[in-house]
C-alpha cells in the first residue's frame, strides 16, 4: 500500500501499543537546551533513572545566552544557573554538549541540521515547539513538554497518538522579493492559527521542491504556528547534498546505504492524505502580521482589517483585541507604520542565506535614525560564515549591531528586549502579546529582507520598492 513519509517513519519507529491506545514511539534523536531540560533531569534523578541512550541526545544553549557578553559568569545569575545546570547534567550523563567553547553552539534547530544530526526518515524530539524545523529533512520532529523530555531521556521513547496528514502543495514560481517566510505566513493565514491541530503538514509542490534546505527549514519551522505539531518535506537530492560531509553524516559505504534508505522514506506517489491543500506561488506577496497571532497576517499591499470586515463574532473580537494591543488604526494601510526596532535572527530566519540576502540589499545603505537594529546569527557557525564573507561588516556599516549566536529577541529571555510599546519588525516566528520582552511590546513578523526594508526606511515598507526589485 502506498504510504506517506509520516506513516513510514511512524511504522518503523513504533515500539508497541500502550494500554490507552497510544503508541510507544522510538525517538531516535533527542535535542535538549537549557530551558526545558533541567526539570526533566531533576525528575530523572528523583526516579533514580539514567539516560537510556546518551549517544542519541545532543545539547546546546540558546534561549538565555547573552549576545553581547562572551565570558561567564553572565550578568544575570539566573541565566548562569541554567547554564551551569545544563553543563552539569550533560557531563553527568555523557551527553554531547555544543557549548560556546565548542564553536558549534547556537539555536538548537540550527545546530542539529548544521551538524548533520538531523537526518531523513528519523524521529526527533526536543522540548521546544519549533522542533518541526527538522522536518525539512524528511524527519518527523516533535516539540514536547518537560515530562516527555524526561520520558525520552529515560526510555528514548514517548507515548503518542498518530497524526493525520495534510499535504500542502505550493506550485509555481514565487514573484521576485517573495520568500519562504512569506509562503509560510501565507499558509498560516489561509489555514488559521489552529487549522493544523491533529495534523502533520507535508509541504510539497514545485515551489517547495525548488527550495534550498534553508528555505525548507523556514517553512517547516512555523508549522506549529498553524497548530501543526509536525511539518515535513520529502527528502530529495537537495537534502542529500546538504547533508554530505557534515560532522554527523555517514561516510563511505555507510553514506550510500543511508541515501538509499532515506530515499525509501519519501512519500509514495499514490499515498492517501487526510486532506490536500493547493496554493499558487504566483499569488503570494510579501506578507506581514498586523495582530497578536501569526495567522493575523496580510500582504504588504493590503489594509489593516477593521472590525466591520470581520467574518464572524469571534473574528471581530479577535480583530478588536489585536488592534487595541497593536495600537494600529483599523482599515489603514500597514505600509508606512513606524517601527522602533528591527530584529534579524531566530530559528526561522537566522541562517547564512538570510543574512546573505539582507546584505545584498543593505550594502551601502543606513538604518534610519531612531531605529535600533540588531542582527543575531543563529549559530556560531553561521556567525563565522557571515564574518568570512564580510556580511557582518556590511550589516555593521549599515548600522545593525552584529551580535553573538542565540535566540535573543525572539523571546527575550536574555537581555535583548523591547522597551515599552516599541514596535519591532522581526524575522522571528511569534507575535504574541509580550513575546519580545516588554509586556506592551509589539511584534510585526516578516521576511528578513522586509525587516531590512523597514530598518532602512524606519517604516513597514514594501522591500520590492525600497530595494528596486524588478518585477520580471
Amino acid at each position: 500500500m502506498a504510504k506517506s513519509l509520516f506513516q513510514k517513519v511512524w511504522d518503523s519507529h513504533s515500539v508497541r501499543k500502550l494500554a490507552n491506545g497510544q503508541t510507544q514511539l522510538l525517538i531516535g534523536t533527542h535535542l535538549i537546551h537549557e530551558v526545558t531540560s533541567p526539570q526533566a533531569f531533576g525528575m530523572l534523578r528523583d526516579l533514580g533513572l539514567k539516560v537510556a541512550y546518551p549517544h542519541r541526545t545532543f545539547a546546546t544553549v540558546d534561549h538565555i545566552v547573552p549576545t553581547d557578553q562572551f565570558v561567564e559568569p553572565y550578568a544575570d545569575p539566573l541565566a548562569q544557573a541554567m547554564m551551569d545546570e545544563l553543563r552539569k547534567n550533560c557531563a553527568d550523563n555523557n551527553v554531547t554538549f555544543f557549548d560556546r567553547a565548542s564553536g558549534k553552539q547556537g539555536v538548537v534547530h540550527i545546530v542539529g541540521p548544521e551538524q548533520g544530526i538531523t537526518q531523513p526518515g528519523t524521529t526527533i524530539a526536543c522540548g521546544d515547539s519549533h522542533t518541526s524545523t527538522h522536518g525539512a529533512f524528511g524527519a518527523i520532529a516533535f516539540g514536547i513538554g518537560t515530562s516527555q523530555v524526561r520520558d525520552v531521556l529515560a526510555t528514548q521513547t514517548m507515548a503518542l497518538g498518530a497524526l493525520k496528514v495534510r499535504r500542502i502543495e505550493v506550485s509555481g514560481k514565487l514573484p521576485p522579493g517573495v520568500y519562504a517566510k512569506d509562503v509560510i505566513l501565507h499558509i498560516i493565514r489561509q489555514l488559521g492559527v489552529n487549522g493544523g491541530t491533529g495534523f502533520a503538514y507535508e509541504y510539497a509542490g514545485s515551489t517547495i521542491d525548488g527550495f534550498s534546505m534553508e528555505e525548507r527549514m523556514t517553512v517547516c519551522n512555523m508549522s506549529i504556528e498553524g497548530g501543526a505539531r509536525v511539518g515535513y518535506v520529502n527528502p530529495d537530492e537537495t537534502t542529500f547534498a546538504y547533508l554530505k560531509g557534515r560532522p554527523y553524516s555517514p561516510t563511505g559505504a555507510a553514506w550510500d546505504a543511508a541515501v538509499a534508505n532515506w530515499k525509501s522514506y519519501a512519500s509514495d506517489a499514490g499515498a492517501v492524505y487526510d486532506d490536500v491543500v493547493k496554493l499558487d506561488a504566483a499569488s503570494i506577496a510579501p506578507t506581514v502580521t498586523w495582530g497578536i497571532n501569526p495567522a493575523q497576517g496580510i500582504s504588504i499591499l493590503e489594509n489593516i482589517p477593521s472590525p466591520e470586515t470581520a467574518t464572524s463574532a469571534d473574528d471581530k473580537a479577535g480583530i478588536i483585541e489585536a488592534l487595541e494591543y497593536m495600537k494600529l488604526p483599523a482599515g489603514a494601510p500597514i505600509k508606512g507604520t513606524k517601527i522602533d526596532v528591527a530584529f534579524l535572527g531566530s530559528c526561522t530566519n537566522g541562517r547564512l542565506s538570510d543574512f546573505q540576502e539582507v546584505a545584498k540589499f543593505v550594502k551601502g545603505r543606513k538604518v534610519a535614525p531612531g531605529v535600533k537594529a540588531i542582527a543575531v546569527p543563529g549559530s556560531q557557525i553561521v556567525a563565522l560564515q557571515c564574518e568570512k564573507l564580510g556580511i557582518d561588516k556590511i550589516l555593521a556599516d549599515a548600522g545593525f549591531e552584529w551580535r553573538a549566536a542565540g535566540c535573543s529577541m525572539c523571546l527575550a529571555m536574555n537581555p535583548d528586549k523591547l522597551v515599552g510599546d516599541q514596535l519591532c519588525a522581526s524575522s522571528s516566528n511569534r507575535n504574541f502579546k509580550g513575546r519580545q520582552g516588554s509586556t506592551t511590546g509589539r511584534t510585526v513578523l516578516m521576511s528578513p529582507v522586509m525587516v531590512a526594508a523597514a530598518a532602512v526606511t524606519g517604516y513597514i515598507a514594501d522591500a520590492r520598492e525600497v530595494f528596486s526589485v524588478a518585477n520580471n
Binding site: S12, H13, V15, L18, A19, N20, G21, Q22, Q24, L26, G28, V35, T36, P38, Q39, G42, A52, Y53, H55, I64, D76, A81, M82, D128, S129, T131, G143, I144, G145, T146, S147, Q148, R150, D151, A154, T155, Q156, T157, A159, N194, T197, G198, G227, R229, A257, A258, N261, N293, D314, A317, G318, A412, M413, R430, F432, K433, G434, R435, G437, T439
Partner: protein, 200 residues
C-alpha cells in the same frame, strides 16, 4: 508507580474568557528562568493580571470571590504556542485541577494530561452556561465527570468530550506513561536495533 484514578474533578470554577490564549500569556518567558517548576503558580497570567509595578489589573483571577477555584474555563485554542510545560505547571501550581475549554492546542493538551490535569472540551454555549452559573454564584459546585463525560453544576448538566486515549489514561490511573514506557525496554531495543542510525 501507582497513580490516582482521576474519574472526576469537583470544585469551584472561574471563567477566563478569550480565544487563542497562548502559552506566553499563561506564563511569560521571563518567569521560565528557573531550574524547577516550584513557585510558577504565582506568575500565572502574570502580565494580564498585574501592572509592571505589581498592582493588580482587572482579571477574574484577581477577584476575591473566585479565590480557591480549581476548575478553569476558557475559549478556543487554549494553550497555543510554545511546548513549555511551564504553562500547565503554572496552572496546576496555582491550584487548578482541570480545564474546560472549546478546544486545546495539541502540545498543551498532552502536557496537561501527563500531569494528571484533565483538559475537557465543551461547546461554547455550554461553557457560557457554566460561566453564567459560577458568575452568579461563585460558590456553586462544579463536577467534571470523566466517566459519564458531563459537567454538572447548579442543577444543570452539559456534555463534554475528551480524547479517548487521554480519558482512558486518567480514569485508569496511567496518565503518566513513564512506568509503561520503561516496561517496554526489550521492545525498544529491538526496534532500535533495526534502525542503522541508532547505533551511530
Amino acid at each position: 508507580m501507582a497513580l490516582a484514578k482521576i474519574t472526576s474533578v469537583t470544585g469551584r470554577a472561574v471563567n477566563v474568557p478569550g480565544n487563542d490564549i497562548d502559552t506566553d500569556r499563561i506564563i511569560p518567558a521571563r518567569f521560565m528562568k528557573c531550574v524547577t517548576f516550584d513557585g510558577l503558580g504565582e506568575f500565572l497570567f502574570n502580565d494580564v493580571r498585574k501592572q509592571l509595578d505589581g498592582t493588580l489589573k482587572e482579571h477574574p483571577l484577581n477577584e476575591a470571590r473566585f479565590t480557591g477555584a480549581t476548575i478553569l474555563l476558557s475559549g478556543a485554542n487554549f494553550g497555543c504556542g510554545s511546548s513549555r510545560e511551564h504553562a500547565p505547571q503554572a496552572i496546576a501550581k496555582y491550584g487548578f485541577k482541570a480545564v474546560i475549554a472549546e478546544n486545546f492546542a495539541e502540545i498543551f493538551f498532552g502536557n496537561s494530561t501527563t500531569l494528571g490535569m484533565p483538559c475537557v472540551t465543551a461547546s461554547r454555549e455550554d461553557i457560557a452556561k457554566i460561566a453564567d452559573a459560577v458568575n452568579a454564584n461563585p460558590q456553586s459546585e462544579v463536577v467534571i465527570d470523566l466517566v459519564k463525560l458531563e459537567v454538572r453544576f447548579a442543577g444543570q448538566s452539559v456534555k463534554i468530550a475528551q480524547r479517548e486515549s487521554a480519558r482512558d489514561s486518567l480514569v485508569n490511573g496511567r496518565w503518566d506513561a513513564i512506568g509503561e514506557l520503561i516496561d517496554g525496554k526489550t521492545d525498544v531495543q529491538s526496534t532500535a536495533g533495526k534502525l542503522a542510525y541508532m547505533s551511530a
